[in-house]
Each structure stands twice: as C-alpha cells, then as structure tokens.
C-alpha cells in the first residue's frame, strides 16, 4: 500500500444543480434532495406486503411505492450512510433483494392545481384523482423519457427518473409548465 493518502472533503453534485424551483399559483416544480432510493426486488409470485417494507422507510407517507410486479421503491429525502443502507438491504432478506439507486434515480416534485394538465402533456396515463389516487404509482413515458410517477397528494406528484435523463426531463417539465407559470 502506498503511503500517500488523499482524504479530501467530498461533495456530492446533485444532478439537477442549477434547476431552480419554478413556482406559480397554478404549478410548482422542484428538484427533491438526493436522499435515498432503494429498489426492492421481490418476486411476482410471492409479493411482499407493504407492512413488511414500511418499517424500513423513513415513515413518510408514500415512502414505499410499487414499481411493477413484486418490485418496490423505498424513497426518502435523507441520504443514508453506507451502514444504514447495508442494514436495510440485509433486512429485506430473505424474501427480497435491495439495490441502492440513491444516486441513480432523481426525484422531482410537481404540484399545484394544474399539475394533472401539465403532466398530461407527457404521459398517456390517466392521472385523474379518481383513477390514480394518492399513493398510486406507475412507470410511464413522460414525453420521450421513462419515469416513475407517484401521486403523493391530491395535487402533487413525485416523478423519479434515471439520473442521466434528469436534466432533460426537468427541461421538458419546465416547458410543459410554462403556460401555467404566468400568474
């Protein structure tokens, strides 16, 4: 081993740095903190109960979201330490495996009275509250970009996207929101 050691202050760079919040009475668009995202890989044959996963989350409403048959995301605003992540992944065993996607997925919150209209410019999913109630989540295309959409409130959605596409999705959402940003 070399004697030379570099121990420098490490600063993570958010994917959406520089994307300032866009706010009007009609719409609000903001990048969420790059906290934690854990992809839970169960099996379609023996789905996990929500009760099994909820205790592993930070406890916020809608912290656990469905992501396809037997799969879930556990998300939260606080970044987990390496040890905390290890504990969660271990706790998922033996029924499920966990994959840390905290850096691989970026979350954007879109809210406001016009949020359904805005998102309808990108997704073919029917987002009416009666069809897509709070807590419902799905994977869909927003324009050309695949994203995971969760309803977190009557007029609020969280959109999770692959990090590499985050800037493009933000640009798209900003453009889709433009007409509602003129108060």
């Amino acid at each position: 081993m070399s004697d030379l050691r570099i121990t420098r202050p490490l600063t993570p760079q958010p994917a959406l740095r520089g994307c300032t919040r866009l706010v009007s009475r009609a719409i609000r668009l903001e990048a969420l903190p790059e906290g934690h995202v854990i992809q839970v890989l169960g099996t379609p044959h023996a789905p996990l109960a929500m009760e099994r996963l909820a205790p592993l989350s930070d406890g916020a409403p809608q912290a656990v979201r469905a992501a396809g048959p037997g799969q879930w995301f556990i998300v939260g605003d606080r970044a987990k330490t390496h040890a905390e992540l290890g504990d969660i992944l271990a706790a998922l065993q033996p029924e499920a495996f966990g994959v840390d996607q905290s850096a691989g997925r970026v979350r954007i919150r879109a809210s406001g009275p016009m949020v359904e209209r805005m998102l309808a410019k990108g997704t073919a999913v029917d987002l009416a509250l009666t069809r897509f109630p709070v807590g419902e989540a799905t994977t869909t295309l927003v324009g050309h970009i695949a994203a995971h959409v969760t309803r977190i409130g009557d007029e609020a959605f969280e959109i999770m996207v692959l990090r590499g596409f985050a800037q493009s999705l933000w640009d798209d959402l900003a453009r889709m929101s433009a007409e509602f940003l003129e108060d």
Binding site: M1, S2, L4, R5, I6, T7, R8, L10, T11, P12, Q13, P14, A15, E34, Q39, L41, G42, T43, H82, A96, F97, V99, D100, Q101, S102, A103, G104, R105, A120, K121, T123, A124, D126, A128, R131, G143, H144, I145, L162, R163, G164, F165, A166, Q167, S168, L169, D171, D172, R175, A178, E179, L181, E182
Partner: protein, 991 residues
Amino acid sequence: MTPYRLAAGGLIDRRAHLSFTFDGKPLTGYAGDSLASALLANGRLLVGRSFKYHRPRGILTAGAAEPNALMTIGRDGRTEANTRATMQELYDGLEARSQSRWPSLAFDIGALNGLLSPFLGAGFYYKTFMWPAPLWEKLYEPFIRKAAGLGTAAHVADPDAYEKCWAHCDLLVIGAGPAGLAAALTAGRAGARVILVDEHAAAGGTLLSETARIGGLPAPAFVAQTMAELEALENVTILLRTTAVGWYDGQVFGAVERVQKHVRVPAAARPVERLWRIVAQKALLATGAEERPLVFGGNDIPGVMMAGAMRTYLNRYGVAPGRQVAIFTSNDSGYALAADLEAQGIVPEIIVDSRADASPSYAGKARIVTGAVVSDAQGGKALSAITVLRNGQTETVKVDALAMAGGFSPIIHLACHRGGKPQWSDAQSAFLAPGDLVGLDLAGAVATTAGIAACLAEGARTATALLEQMSFNATPATFGTVEGDIVSAPNPVPARPLWTVPGVRGKAFVDFQNDVHRGDLDLAVQEGYGHVELAKRYTTNGMATDQGKLSNVNAIGLLAEARGISPADVGTTTFRPFYTPVSFGALAGPHHGHDFQPVRRSPLHDWARRLGATFVETGLWYRSSFFPRVGETSWRESVDREVLNVRAHAGLCDVSMLGKIEICGHDAAEFLNRVYSNAFLKLPVGKARYGLMLREDGMIYDDGTTSRLSENHYVMTTTTAYAAGVMNHLEYCAQVLWPDLDVRLASSTDQWAQMAIAGPKARLILQTIVNEDLSNDAFPFLAAREVSLFGRALHGRLFRISFSGELAYELAVPAGYGESVAEALMEAGAPHGIQPYGVEALGVLRIEKGHVTHNEINGTATAADLGFGKMVSTTKPDFIGKAMVGRPGLVDPERAQLVGVLPLDPTTSFRTGSHILAQGAAATLENDQGYVTSSAYSPHVGSTIGLALVTRGAERHGEAVMIWNGIRNEFTPGRLCDPVFVDPGNEKLHV
C-alpha cells in the same frame, strides 16, 4: 359588387371593427367574422384561382370542406399556406394572400391553361409525357413540379410552439351541434367525464345559422344557455377550435386544437396548436352532414355557393350573398334558404327544383320552377346569369348569386378510420357509417336524422344508452318545443340525388380543388378506369387538402350512372386519418431542434467539459470524444497523445455509460451459466469474468464482464449500445424461459459514475484514494470488490479489468460523487502523468489490443470466428445458442475469422469497410474475402492498423493481400497478421 353586409342581425359585433388585408388591400370586418364572411361582406367574390385551369373561384362553403378559398395567412415563419378562409377567424391585422395566381388574382397568366383545357383532361400527363423517356427527368418533371402544388411554404423556421397532450374521458362527443350538445348535457348531468370537441370557434354547429326557436329562445341563445351549463360542470371539458382528425386503435382519438391561430401575435408560453390524443371509453359522433354541390356547367363561377353556406353567411354573419339570388335544389332544404332570404328582404329570382313532384311547404314570393335544372351558369370572375332547362326549353335568368342544394352526405369519416367501409343506403340516398362499430355511436345528421328537434332527442337518447353501458345512471336531457324547425314533415323523404344534370354545355365541376369535371370521370370510365380507386388516381378526384369532402359522393354517383350500376356497387375509396390537414408542427410537437430527443448525461459530463472535452453523441449519451490541448491542430494529434500517455503513464476515461445490471437471487449463478456460453457457475466471490452471450442461432449477441460481489449478487456490464437490449433479454430469460429460477434484475447504469484508470501508473494513483491493498497479490487481475475510499468516507466498486491491454481498473462510485473522485484521481495522478482520454483513444487502445466490439460482433460472427472458440462450453448441459452453434454453416472452415491487417508501407493507410482481396486477384465482388471491421492509426505500431473478418483469417497471418476500397477506388497493399498488436502475452495485465 354583389354580396354585402346587412344592417342588422347575425352573431357579429358591429361595434368591434377588425382591420385585415387581402392581397395587400386593406379591408375591415367585425369581431365574430370568419375571413370568408369578411371577404364576402367586402364584396370580394373572387378569392382564388383553381389549381389546374386557374379558373376564378369564389367562396363555396362556410366550413371545413372549402375547396376554393384557400389562402396563405401570415408572413415569414408564421406563413401558413392553404388556410381555409371559411375556417379562419378574423383577427385584427390578419394578412391573407390568394394562391395559384401570377402576377395577380384578377389577371392570371396561368388562366391560359383554361384555353388549353381540351388537351388537359384526365390522364393528360400520363399520356403526354411518356416519351422521349430521357426528357422526363430533365424537363417534364421539373416543369410539372414547378407548376404543381398548392401554396408555398416559408423557408424560415416557425417561431411558435406546438404541443402534444393526452386526455381521458368516459364519453367523447365530437361535434357541438344539436345532437352533440344534447349528448354532452345528458352525460355531463349524469356525472360522466365528458369531452366535447368542435372544430369551430363557437359551439352550436348549424344552430348558429338557424332561425328556429328552441324552448322560446332563438337557436344561438339556446346554444349559449346550454354551453353555460356545460361550462359550469367540472366533469365536462370543452375543446373548441378542435378538429377530431382520426379514430385509432385502443379508443384513441386524435384531435388538433388551434389554440392561437386566431391571434396576430401568439403568447410565447402557450402553443399555437395542440395535438390531443383522447382516450375515450365511448365516443359519440355528432359531426352532421355535408351538403353536396350540383354538377352543372359553370358551377364553379364566383357567386355560386352551397345553399347551407348561404344561410350561414346570411343568418350568422349578417352577409347577404347578392341582390339577385337563385336557388337550385334537389330537395326541400333549398326552401329554408328562400325563407331566410325573404326575411332579409331578398326575394329569390327563381327556385329551380329538379323534382317534378316537389311539394314544399313554402309560402314565399319566389317563382318556383319544378322538374327543371340549372344546366349552366354564366360569368367570368362573377356570376351574371343562369340557364334554366325545363322540358327541353331553356330560359336565361340574370342573377348575381346562386345557391345549390344537392342533398346531404353524413360526415362519417371518423367512423371509417379503423377499417370499416361506408354502406350505401338507397332509402337514405347516402353512404352510412359501418354498422358494426364498437365504442362509437352516431347521432344527428351524421345518422341521417333531420331536424333540430329530432337531433336533440337523438343526441340525448344515444348518450343515455352509451352511459348505461358504462353503468352511469343517465336521464336523456329534454328541451323545449322547437318552433320553425327546418323539417316540416316528421319523416321527411330524403332527396333523390341528382347526379347527372341534363343539358350541360360548360365545364361541370365535380372536384373543385383538383379541377376534375364530369367529362374527366366519363373519360376514366371509357378508358377502363371506372373502378372507384382507379378513377381517383386517373382523375385526381378526391385528392389534395380537402380529400373529396364535397366531390367524392358526386363522383361515385356519376361513376355509377356511367357504368349503369348502383353507388353501392361502386363503393368508396378508403377513409384514412386525418379528416382535415394537420400541420407538421402539431405532429412534431415540442420534439424538434434541441428537444428532438432527450440527452443522457454522464455523471462525469461536467468534469469532462471542464477539461475541454469534445463530445460525441452515442445513442442518447454524450461521451467525451477526446480532450484537445492548446497547440494541437487536429483530433488525431490529441488522440495519439492520449493513447501514448495511457501506454506510458496513465489515463482516466469515463465509462459510466456502459450498461450495468444487478443480478440477484438464489439461482443467479445458474441463470448466468445459461445466459453465457462460457462457464459461470463457479465464479468465486470477488472475481470478474469475461462472458460471451450468444443468440439462439449461435451467433454472438453481446460481451462484457460479470462480477460476483457476494454469493447471490452479481453485476454484469454490457456494451453501451446493447445496455437496454441485454436488460430486456435477461428479463425475457428470467420471466419467460426459466421462471423457475430465482433471479431478480435491476439496471444500475445510472447509479454509478464509472471510470477506467489505465496505464502502468494506474495502481500507484488509485492506491492514493483506495484504502484496501491493491498490490497484485491482494487485488489481482480480474479482482472485483467493494472498496472504501478516502478513509471510509465513501464506498465504491473496483474491478481490475482492462480494455486497453494495460494494467487497468474500473472504479465505480455513487454518481453524485463522480466528479469529486475524478478530480481527486487527476490530482493524485498529476505527478504520474495522468491525462483524461476519450472514446477515440479508447477505440485505438482496444484495436491495438485486438479487443472486439460490435464492429466485429456484427450479428454474423460466431465465437470461433472471433477467436473465442474456447469460450463456448462443451460440458455445460445447456446455454442459449448451444443447440445451433454446431450446425455445419457455423463450423465451416471457410468462414470469415478475426485477423489483424497492416499496410505494407507504413506511410499508407486504409479505411474501415475496405475489402480484402487475395494478392493479384481482380477487384470484383466474387473475389471478396472479407472486410476491415475496425481501423485506426496506431501510435504504438506507427501505422494504420485494422481488425478484419477474412476467410480463414486465423491461419493466414503473414499473408500479403490487397485492401480494396471500392467506393473510393483505393488500393492499399497490406498484410494479414495477429489481431493483437500490443502485448500478445498479456503480461501487462498481470503486473
């Protein structure tokens, strides 16, 4: 001047003056006008020239089917050709220009074509320009192209925004006329999610042109009242200025909303047009009916107009069509117009009714001639007289306006968009929608229902039935008594169509837009093109922007009479989306220019940018191509430096975009053993292995390394190009082929910033940030483990793998830390000469080492072809590709095999794609022995080097060949060699 504005009446605001120009001349209209009504009110009868004969043309309709009044609106990037004046709302500052004329609308040189018309009939071009053949390309086609076309597009970019949007509803109502309004109200009150679309700026459809009273209110006031109730319902969405243009699979309807086509300067934050994709559980078509023209001589002279359109101009826009008006009708509807004209003080000069037995309930003053026809109209740029033919006797009547009422054709287009064929009904004298529609019903005039009261009732009733199918509790909306309904009898006898008007002398137009007249259809039948699809192509009837909305049914009737068969036997041409033309802007939406496709950014993108990287698009990724330095004059100079530096010192390359797939599960090892052709069952924890994936047909699919991070957890790397494909392939294998295996898959490509650190100094540099011992004993070639960095501040994954052939590692850290870590490595490596390198250098390094990529894994190469024969297990019970890998064609000794290529003279060069010829062989395809799959200048070798797939290449090392570039006719004498140009013994990998 004949048409003029009435002093009162109509739905226009006479206090709101709007200025506009037509062919540069300033004119004024009122708010509520269409461009067409404003032109008429200004006495502008002549508004365009016809396409082929350049005949003077006036406004024919008041709606979407307009074939004549096509104008160019706006200027520069907002130029919009072929705008229908009938559909264009007037706005202050509107600029309209007529088309198909030169030098001016009034004096048009092209009208000379009219003199040549005896020679310009259907099929003229086919017959005339057949010979001499060489002239077609050089003379005829350019000439015809110059003369052809409707309007001229601008050559500057459109400055406005376009948008696409989805919408969902229980019931979609298409058309806001009486049937549509009644349906929407019924559904809205029942609580269903309703979308009501109408192509006009104002809802109401024909009600806006009616003089009837509904429940005591004038029809337009009734519309306003109904719309107010609909607007107050939260579950009802009203989309005006929105044309439903297509019905597609999955109950998706396409519709185009003209959001800001009625304003001079659109607001920048909103689109000018919006393409809606409406998913409707059920849909109701309430699109009404199109009035048919009558085919008599000179029926295209300005001043001749559809009777229904004339009612609209009169009642809705307060524009009288002329002072001396005649009506030519084949049914009762013409008399409603007569009554309306008289109410405005214009007594028609004559009503010509083709029915000998006509008995209309008409109490007006106009002279009625039954059993008669208008055989010809006279006039040039304006109508002056008509010839009335009755019992062989002709009479000339001086008129300045003529209305024609040839009966109605239901607007069933959307009902036929999914393949259904219109059905001819003798009883209704009309083509009706297919009878077996699912998810779509019809109400109102589109279902041949006549009269306001009947349409209102049918709309409400049909909506109720559709709602009940969706388990809504609905009650049909009811409305007050309709006074002055246009239908007097409860069950009116439909008009008998009058296809062939007798005694015609002049040109009797069937298709106004394409200048197809009756003689053309007769000619088509005579010459054997009587089939409706052939007649369309032979005559061009029903083509271009209006797609035969006015002409198709008349053409079918005339073809039927010419062939002596029923219209049912003639049939229709195929109805396809779009119902009306859709702009490219609406179809493209926001996806053009910078937004054509999304960008996928590496977590090291900004780091590379700061170091001056030149980027290259690789799929959606932007990869650093090379890092030019001050003083370097060509990309080659930069790349050569980067390559030499890696071999001499060390380099850092962003490889984040390589696919990374987490493979978990208790059967993950078995899964990999079946997916790869080489053995994976016994790969130890902490080790990586190069794997080869075959397709079922035995060819190589993809390659990469897979590392075992723990007992039941692997991470696979794929090529950048195949990342998504391999993920899909693995999912398919796990879900479909072997559902019994416990395997779970997740893409983690975006989670990690991954960098290759390659070169003899790689270990020295890396060790400065990695806590674990990286000595060759502790972390040997193909080691793969989680490591801690910077004390224990960060954890990453470290793989000792090499694409360059040097001592090399790939370090993966959580993406957000990528830039910090890359900077730390550059800082630590500075004393050791580290430099960043891009994909160009990466490519050179791998060619020098003889590593293959998808240039070589080209879909026709087997493992053995590329020298990986030993990686195809002979002992495993099964793996994908095993069954086919031994077939004779894949073990043929003559197959092309991977080989290196060098030029004999190092100062000469060759290109990728060049072919290999045996020495002395003629340059023919028969002598082709393979081709260069990859090539680069190798600073290590000092010349161009290549990899090639050449017949029996593996046993021909040292053989002189000719490298032939057939496209550039270049010949480079060369020599086949070992494909590994650097460190063939792999000693560097193990230091």
